[in-house]
Each structure stands twice: as structure tokens, then as C-alpha cells.
Symmetry: C2
Subunit: 302 residues, 2 copies
């Protein structure tokens, strides 16, 4: 079965470790959190997706490479320079590899393909677009890049609004269009609906193609709290309820099925024409990811 | 005593470890071997000078930091990417530190000052100019950057000629001018006369100031062979004899004293109006460097 997954970081990469052996996968990845740091381009979500699929991701933090060292990063600190993202020595090689290809004139799509191949990843991994897009968080202390908000300021500032700088110029690449047109269904992983998924949905050419496909989303909200990360703060700032039904609202105009956690089983049924089903969605390891993946793929077989 | 040293890599940094505690030092460093690699600017000679003065240089290779690891470099190799200079993890932090300052708009002179201060170096370390200059080696296989010739091709191609791309635009910075005007004397360390020292001499405003000072050079050639590196090949390509007297020819129009090794004591005397003196110039450790430094400084006291 040909499945497209829309992915940010953390939640969806976890799920991908289950899906990767069960379906012919193409992952379309958010690039609105990308940033140039220390001379090279970091694509946090693409990296997490590749590392998860290669099964080398640090499964304590769900970013970076397991067992990585931080010699360069720590030396910079000793020299008095704050490299505000914690970049591992192995991880840095990924950023250099990608950026050297970009400097040679390859597109991000091409560079990502070479990168995932270098890591022995079979699934297709596609950036959502070629254009630069940046998630900007509006706070009482001013506007800041997502990474500054989340990494440098530890997600602490109050969030007044979120917008995606450059999104108006972003259009789906040929690879993204083809993947969406030729797949048997689309899964939106349990990633942050606002900062991880919304940028993908706003790329020209994507949402209209989702409407023509069966789309199943896994709620990243259980009860009235996100499983991880700042999703709650962002949903509230955008005027959505922090609940699985709030997630339905974000995806309302193309979603077919929302999968909620068993603890939210009271929501099962129809909501605004969208089917809500329940299963265990909390993934503590690869077995959980596999079980959830089988449940999701079954929904496309119905 | 205020001494200016003109420096490339290897030989002169060795000498600096002796000079640094005996004189008020300003080191003017060749930047014609600088190159952007993996997103950051590498200034091999500046780095060697700083590491030598900070006493952290790898004294086996005379480049890089003692005890450095190569995690990022080796990971790049595993990913199939050839980072053609062997960059250590600690060393890479130096390049990032410098390049982030350049990206913020600092000049190379300012960035170098911050860098040497971060390493606790007291001597002044100045790039020869702000303009980009590149040493190009002309070989039967085509023209190539010095680093490609020396590092990637291990110095093997035949050398037809050497030129310094961009040198016509290079002019001495205010700091370099001031150092040369206010010093009590200039030492040209035992660096490669063609690729390490000649670019410094060709920077507008430097040679005329050397003529007004007492200049002492240490021959990097002993007998008819360079102590280390490709100096012989380059001197020959430029039409100079590979001998201490060939070194005199390169520096002829401003040099006062050439210091040759004791094994070349037969050259002692006057040659084309330039005094030739002899002492042990081979430095096997800091004690040798100190002894040679004392010998050199004594020449300015005469």
C-alpha cells in the first residue's frame, strides 16, 4: 500500500518506525523550522525523520543521533560563543553534507534524497517545498524564529500569534505532487497541528490534493494536553480548543478519520462529518508504533 | 622590545613558542591559503599561529589542536562526502567562531583578535590584509588552490608556477601599518618564502615599510633542502636556487640579516650586501625555539 505521511518532529517520527516496514512510504516533511546555524542548514524535522527511519535517532530526546558527542558545540561554549541549538558532532556532518550539496546547486529535494540514501533509508523523504519558509512566533517580547522560541527560550514566552514567513511563495514540488496523486491514502502523524502540519497544508497545491484522498490523522492531543511539546500553546493562540476536537477543526476541510487515544474513547463517532475512532496512541517503543501503524493501515483497507 | 614576525604555518609557529615570552610580539600572518570549507572559513596559518601561541597546537603535525577528535569529519566520510581537509572537532569550533563573526559583519582583523583572546593569547595576531587572496598552483593538471595541491593531492603534481589571485587589491590594514611602523625590528620566520611569506610581501604598503626597519630572516632551507614542506618545489618554479642564498634572493631588497643553520656555516659573511650569520635553526622542541629566539633578538640589540 502506497502511503504518504505528513510529518513534523517527535510524534510522527516515532510512528514512522512502525509504518516503515508495513507500507510503501513517502514522508512529506515540514521545513518551516529550518534554520542556518554555524554555516550550515539545519532541517530539524527532515533530520528527525531520516534518523528515525534509519533507527539511529536518540530515543530519549527524539532529536539527534544516539550516542552523539558534542565536542565542537562545547568548544564553542568554552570560546565564549553561544551556538544556541545543541548540535552533535555526528549530527553536524548531516548539516554539512546537505549544505555542501545546496552550495553546489542541488535542490533541497535532491540533497534530502542523497542524504536519506546515505543513511540507508528506503522510504522516500521529501521537503514540503523548495522555498524558504520560517515559522515566526509572535510574543510580548517581540517576534522570533520558532527555534529561538523553542530552543533558546525553552518555549516560555507567551504566544500571541504564529505566522509562516515566505509561505505565500511556497509551492508543492513535482515529487510532492506525484506522491500525493499516486498514493492510496494520507496519514497525518501526531505532530503539532500548528507549527508542524499547518505549514505543509499551506504550501500551494497540497490541500487541494488532500481533499481527493482518504486522510487519517492521529491526534497529538490526549484529553486536553499535548503528548509532547508546545502544541497546546500554539493551538490556543490560533483560537483552537486544546482537545482532539480542536485538532479536527484544524484539519476539518479535508480530514476523513481522526484517531484519538483510548482514554478519549468518549469522542468516538462522527464530529462535523469526520469519523472519530479510538485506539492506544501513546508510543513508548517500536512495538507500540507497529501496533498503531497496523491500526492506521487497516483504516485504508476498509 | 617590540618585534613584528611575518608568519606562515609550521616553521614560524614553532619559533613563536620561543619568542612569545621574550618580546612584545605582533605576528602578521599569511592569509593566501585561507579557504571556505564545510560552511566556514579556515585560515590555516592564523590558526596555527594562535594554537602555537596558546601552546595547544598538535606538535606532531604542527596543525590542529593536540588531542582533537575527528567525529564530524569521519561521519562525513561514512556518508560518502569527502571533506578534503582533515578538520578536527575542536578545530572546527575555531572556524565556526571566526565565520559567525564574519557573517555578523566583523572584519577578519576583528574576528582574529576575538579569537586569539578567546584562546588567552597575549601577542597580537593580525591577518596580512582584509581582502581575499588565494594562492594558486599552476600544474600540468591545471590550476588549483594551494590547499588542493598540498592537502588533496599531497603536493605531488609538478609545479609550473605560483600566483596569488586577488593580491593586486590587497592592502595593509591600519593595524598592520601601525605594527610595522612602531616596531623595533622584523623577523621573518622559517616559513616557505614563496607561498607563506611572498603574499605578505606583495600586500600594498608592507614592503616599503620593511625597507625602513631592520629585518632578520631565518632560512627555512638547510643545505639544499627545505626543513619541511614544499618550499623547494615552489622556489624552483619561481626560478630561485633551493639554498639559503636562494632565500636571500627572495628577500633581497629589504633584508638585513639571514640566519642560516650551523651546518651551512660556510655561507657566513656578506652576500649581495646582506649579512649571513649561522646558529642552530632546527627546532626539535621549545628549548630550541627559545635559544634561537634569544639569538635573533640579540641581533636587534647590536
Amino acid at each position: 500500500m502506497k502511503i504518504v505521511v505528513l510529518s513534523g518532529g517527535t510524534g510522527t517520527p516515532k510512528l514512522l518506525q512502525g509504518l516503515k516496514d508495513l507500507a510503501d512510504l513517502t514522508v512529506i516533511v515540514n521545513t518551516a523550522e529550518d534554520i542556518w546555524i554555524s554555516g550550515n542548514k539545519i532541517c530539524p524535522d527532515i533530520d528527525s525523520v531520516i534518523y528515525a527511519l534509519a533507527e539511529i535517532i536518540d530515543e530519549e530526546r527524539w532529536w539527534g543521533i544516539r550516542g552523539d558527542s558534542f565536542r565542537t558545540h562545547e568548544q564553542l561554549k568554552r570560546l565564549g560563543f553561544d551556538e544556541f541549538m545543541m548540535i552533535g558532532d555526528l549530527d553536524r556532518a548531516t548539516h554539512i553534507f546537505r549544505s555542501e550539496l545546496l552550495r553546489q546547486g542541488y535542490t533541497l529535494t535532491e540533497a534530502t534524497k542523497k542524504l536519506k540514501n546515505a543513511f540507508g533509508v528506503k522510504a522516500e523523504v521529501l521537503p514540503m517545498c523548495e522555498e524558504d519558509v520560517a515559522t515566526i512566533i509572535v510574543t510580548p517580547q517581540g517576534e522570533m524564529h520558532f527555534q529561538e522560541f523553542w530552543v533558546k527560550r525553552k518555549g516560555e514566552p507567551e504566544v500571541l500569534d504564529i505566522y509562516f514567513k515566505g509561505i505565500e511563495n511556497a509551492k508543492a514540488t513535482d515529487d510532492v505532487v506525484k506522491a500525493l496523486e499516486c498514493c492510496d491514502g494520507v496519514i497525518i502523524g501526531p505532530s503539532n497541528p500548528i507549527t508542524s502540519v499547518m505549514p505543509i497544508l499551506l504550501v500551494k497545491g497540497i490541500k487541494e490534493r488532500l481533499r481527493r484522498k482518504k486522510v487519517v490523522a492521529v491526534s497529538p492531543i490526549v484529553g486536553n494536553r499535548p503528548v509532547s511539546g508546545p502544541a497546546g500553546k500554539f493551538m490556543r493562540a490560533k483560537g483552537y480548543e486544546v482537545s482532539p476536537l480542536g485538532v479536527v477543526e484544524v484539519y476539518a476541510d479535508f480530514l476523513d478519520v481522526l484517531v484519538v487515544d483510548s482514554s478519549d474513547a468518549d469522542l468516538v463517532g462522527k464530529y462535523k462529518g469526520i469519523e472519530v475512532v479510538a485506539t492506544d496512541t501513546i508510543m513508548k517503543g517500536k512495538e507500540d508504533a507497529k501496533r498503531l501503524s497496523e491500526f492506521l493501515l487497516e483504516l485504508f483497507r476498509l
